[in-house]
Point group: C2
Chain length 193, copies 2
Amino acid sequence: MYERIKANLNRHIKLDDEEFDVFRKKLVAETYKKDSHLIQSGQICKYTYFVHSGLLRLYDINEKGLEKNTLFAVEEWWVSDLYSFHSQKPGNYFLQALDDTEVLQLSKHAMENLLLEIPKLERFFRILHINAFIAQQERVMHMISKTAEERYRDFIRKYPDAELRIPQKQIASYLGITPEFLSRMKAGFKHGA
Amino acid sequence: MYERIKANLNRHIKLDDEEFDVFRKKLVAETYKKDSHLIQSGQICKYTYFVHSGLLRLYDINEKGLEKNTLFAVEEWWVSDLYSFHSQKPGNYFLQALDDTEVLQLSKHAMENLLLEIPKLERFFRILHINAFIAQQERVMHMISKTAEERYRDFIRKYPDAELRIPQKQIASYLGITPEFLSRMKAGFKHGA
DNA sequence: GGGAAAAATTGATGTAGATTAAGCGTGCAC
DNA sequence: GTGCACGCTTAATCTACATCAATTTTTCCC
């Protein structure tokens, strides 16, 4: 159960066995059923989640009342409503399981203690958030510069298995287009392009 | 000269005088003339910049050959090509002065040493990048959910003085629309809306 | 395994914003 | 001061994508 998160930490820092043990003891393993919610908009986000297996989506409901996905989290992703988690104020996002999903969750309180006990974790999360920022920045640039079709091709190139696991309407919402238009595009470029 | 960056650090951490002195000694003050470049696409980004005064834009050139702004940096902003700076591989962004601009720059090497000498800085940059991520994430959601006019209104509400200092075409590029359409919108909602 | 509900597809029409092109104002180099 | 490049505006046309509505396919539940 803990090998995956250990490998994840090892991408950026080295913890000895004792340190990892301190870390592991703060984690709570939890399983969420398909369609259940881990985070609700309007509430204070208590946890940061590491996805051990399964599939989550992070979304908000916009002014027109439509659900818009901002992130899919698969195995070995960290996910949370960072604004709410970090500030401990009510957030705007929902986090929902698209499949039965096993997570390791870390409470705000546990996280703060960990950062003091194992300062190397400051480095780990710093690098994690740098990479998250870079990915979002690139996504903004794609929204500005590319057509929906180019963004869809990028998406399936970057997450090849996502096409299989994630419903079309969820992908459309992530890309910022309607399900109808996504369907049309897929039909289109079998013969075309 | 150093009061502004000291205040900036103090937003998230407390450094004593000795620590701040270590930090300050690594900074290099530099002035860039209007229109000059601090970072060039294709090159390895050597520095992270703290804007002491002036105005910078971070942009790339897309596949169609058009310049697209991803960020404006005014007083008290940190800016860099984070991918290139962090990985020390060639980057995709240009950083250009839109006005004569004074920066404090920190080399990759100096930054790494600082993070070892003053571990509290790991925390500082972690929080800085969390906030940067949250802002980018919000921008993605706005691109997905809002019309160009709504995004323009948000922009001038968030950066009230930007409208005065930043040329329209640069704002249009940041919003992901053409200068022509921005001009039309401005004319439009003087009488309308 | 049959039936309801949700997801995906298909078609007709509507619209936000792009593109192209022309004219206008303004800052700045000589 | 004058010329000229460049940014801003206005107008006509075009297109990527949305909206609305109907049909088919898939999923899931007792």
